[in-house]
């Protein structure tokens, strides 16, 4: 008897290709239809307009129609209830914009801050070229120097011109360049929408938590007001995020956030404000990686080092070093994580630890173990992940482990998995049954991809972290899906 899995594989193997005659026929008719569509939507209207305006009777009727239309638009915009868009549509609508301009200020810095630092407003301005993935963004970092807790605020700007990234440190007036490999460029461009959403603190995993709390007018236009409150156990803080969104135009015009002490339930303190404009023509040169005059150059484009992946480094006592290089998730929540860890003091034979690994078998025993891999931090925290070995690559003497993490049920990765927690345990004595000496939790950003992006991003990342710049042949979308099915079945058993 042929098992059902065979039938499934056979269907997946169905692959028809179009003939040259068909291609010719479709292209011809399709481009003709496209040209006609453009003609009818763009060219016919002015012609009709000219005919109407030449005739004195129709001219009067046209004026009357314009007045009626203005009144109708007014009713629709200022008092109508025809809600066309909800806040959950925003990621997609922002993704369709040509450019996004975000301008405002922030005072909330993500470390414990003193009262007076809260009151200080720091200007923020971001530009995103959604068509070409270029961007110019502002960032702040508060460095607390121990032991005297002296604080240093660093203001930085990052410009990506599609090929090079220029990091400008405005505090010490210096510039550093990074060059991007072809893979990194694709990844960078792919994350443009994510970055623009992060700039206004609007992430898909949280979007469903917002509720419409009222309406407000901005510059004479009606906007729905959407709100979400979040409380943090650590620090006893409560935050409130509010968006002004036009349901008719489908755009957010303003974002504000507040903060207060949760226990005291005191007054809300405004911590940041952003105004948003879509499809505005950016100022000339805004995406150019030209250093500001009189800034010190730490390097040049010619001497720039290669931009690393979006890594999460970790280390213990100056000896154990490692990093989570990348986490990529498929839409159903199956995730692939590339990472490495070395202990120069005791870890001289890494090759042995990778020698007997099997696809779908246990993860390698290294100086550091993934004690609890992928722990979704939003929405569905009851999902359980199991990690197994998928592949390994070697680059510059390092062994990279590519682990596959499979959830016990399908999850919507874009909502659940974009930010996950990984618990890493220091494991100098890595014999079976020996507990990790200590553990640390790290938050990792996940790149959620579609099936047709598997080769570009999963295999691309593996090739990027390999001396031969080639991904292991076995790592294909179908193999990963089959393997994840087997791993899940073993979890159920």
């Amino acid at each position: 008897m042929r098992p059902a899995e065979d039938i499934r594989k056979l269907i997946k193997n169905l692959n028809d290709t179009t003939s040259a005659q068909m291609d010719e026929r479709v292209r011809k008719n399709m481009l003709q239809a496209l040209a006609e569509s453009e003609k009818t939507s763009a060219r016919t209207q002015p012609r009709i307009g000219r005919i109407i305006m030449k005739n004195p009777i129709t001219k009067l009727a046209a004026v009357a129609m314009v007045i009626t239309a203005v009144v109708l638009i007014g009713i629709n915009q200022f008092g109508g209830s025809s809600a066309a868009y909800a806040i959950t549509d925003m990621p997609e609508l922002l993704g369709q914009a040509k450019t996004i301009h975000v301008k405002g200020w922030t005072s909330a810095l993500k470390v414990p801050v003193k009262e007076e630092e809260h009151l200080e407003r720091h200007q923020v301005e971001d530009w995103y070229d959604m068509e070409n993935g270029r961007c110019r963004t502002t960032g702040f970092a508060m460095i607390v120097m121990m032991p005297d807790e002296k604080r240093l605020l660093v203001k930085a700007e990052t410009v990506f011109d599609g090929y090079y990234e220029m990091q400008i440190n405005h505090s010490n007036k210096s510039v550093t360049f990074y060059k991007l490999t072809e893979f990194m460029r694709s990844l960078y461009i792919r994350r443009t929408l994510d970055r623009s959403l992060e700039a206004i603190s609007l992430t898909p995993e949280e979007i469903a938590d917002f509720e419409k709390v009222g309406q407000d007018q901005l510059e004479g236009m009606e906007f729905d007001v959407w709100e979400k409150k979040t409380s943090y156990e650590q620090g006893g803080k409560e935050e409130k995020f509010v968006y002004w969104m036009s349901t008719i135009l489908g755009k957010i015009a303003r974002f504000r956030s507040w903060e207060r002490e949760q226990k005291a339930e005191g007054e809300w303190r405004l911590t940041s404000e952003r105004e948003l404009k879509l499809n505005v023509v950016p100022p000339e040169g805004v995406f150019e990686t030209v250093p500001p005059p009189e800034y010190t150059l730490n390097n040049t484009k010619e001497t720039a080092s290669v931009h690393r992946l979006f890594t999460q480094p970790f280390g213990w006592r100056d000896s154990v070093q490692g990093e989570i290089a990348i986490v990529i998730a498929l839409p159903n929540g199956v995730a692939i994580m590339g990472w490495h860890a070395e202990d120069p003091a005791s870890d001289s034979a890494q090759a042995e630890r990778f020698e007997y690994l099997e696809i779908g078998g246990t993860l390698p025993k290294m100086c550091v173990e993934i004690a609890f891999g992928l722990w979704p931090t939003y929405n569905d925290q009851n999902v359980t992940y199991v990690g197994r070995h998928l592949a390994e690559t070697q680059k510059d003497g390092r062994f990279y482990e590519w682990a596959i993490f499979v959830p016990n049920k399908d999850v919507d990765a874009s909502r659940v998995l974009r930010r996950s927690k990984v618990r890493i345990g220091l494991h100098r004595d890595n014999r079976e049954g020996v507990e990790a000496e200590e553990t640390n939790d790290f938050y990792v950003e996940t790149v959620v991809i579609q099936e047709d992006e598997f080769d570009l991003f999963v295999r691309g990342a593996m090739a990027e972290l390999s001396d031969e710049r080639v991904a292991p042949a076995d790592v294909t979308y179908d193999n990963v899906i089959n393997l994840s099915g087997e791993i899940r079945a073993s979890m159920e058993e």
């Binding site: 193997n13 169905l14 479709v26 939507s41």
Partner: protein, 180 residues
């Protein structure tokens, strides 16, 4: 996804290159779906042709909500269902032989394909259309059961049932072919 959005945006502004890029990207995927659903090369080609021509004709007003791939797959599925209905009506009118197994139009294609795949195509044509659509759209089209339920206008449990029955039927048809 982002690439699709950009291509759709360009198509909206009449960009021929973007339109051709979309065609190149999805033509084989859609033809495979159409042929899986209809079983005939020529009709499947017509469906894919009609999907792209009507997409191009409406490009100016098109708004992409969700994935373009799923949208195009849905278009193929809708057109294929129309063709099946028309074919059934035609068959009733002409009182034809009502062949259970549709033959492949292109003998050369048959030679190229493995014998197993040919048998699969024949088996696919023997299972009820709703089951075939569910199996093909899920396994080859990558559509979720929920999306297929929306497309067919039935509940999720019905779709699960159609998928299971479809696969079982295909399995038994192919096993009986082997036993012969």
């Amino acid at each position: 996804m982002l690439e699709d959005k950009l291509l759709v945006l360009k198509c909206k502004h009449g960009d021929k290159e973007a339109m051709c890029r979309l065609y190149e990207k999805y033509k084989d995927y859609l033809l495979t779906l159409a042929k899986g659903l209809l079983g005939e090369q020529a009709t499947a080609e017509d469906v894919v042709h009609d999907v792209f021509v009507s997409f191009a004709g409406l490009a100016g007003q098109f708004r992409l909500k969700g994935s373009l791939r799923a949208y195009l797959a849905t278009c193929v599925s809708n057109l294929a269902r129309d063709k099946i209905r028309r074919r059934t009506r035609q068959a009733q009118v002409t009182d034809s032989m009502n062949p259970v197994i549709q033959r492949q139009d292109n003998p050369a294609q048959n030679l190229i394909e493995s014998e197993e795949l040919t048998r699969l195509r024949q088996a696919l044509n023997q299972i009820p259309y709703e089951q075939r659509e569910t199996v093909i759209l899920h396994l080859k089209g990558g559509m979720k059961f929920r999306e297929i339920a929306g497309l067919q206008g039935v509940s999720l449990s019905t779709i699960h049932g159609r998928y299971r029955y479809g696969l079982d039927k295909l399995r038994s048809l192919m096993n009986s072919e082997v036993e012969k």
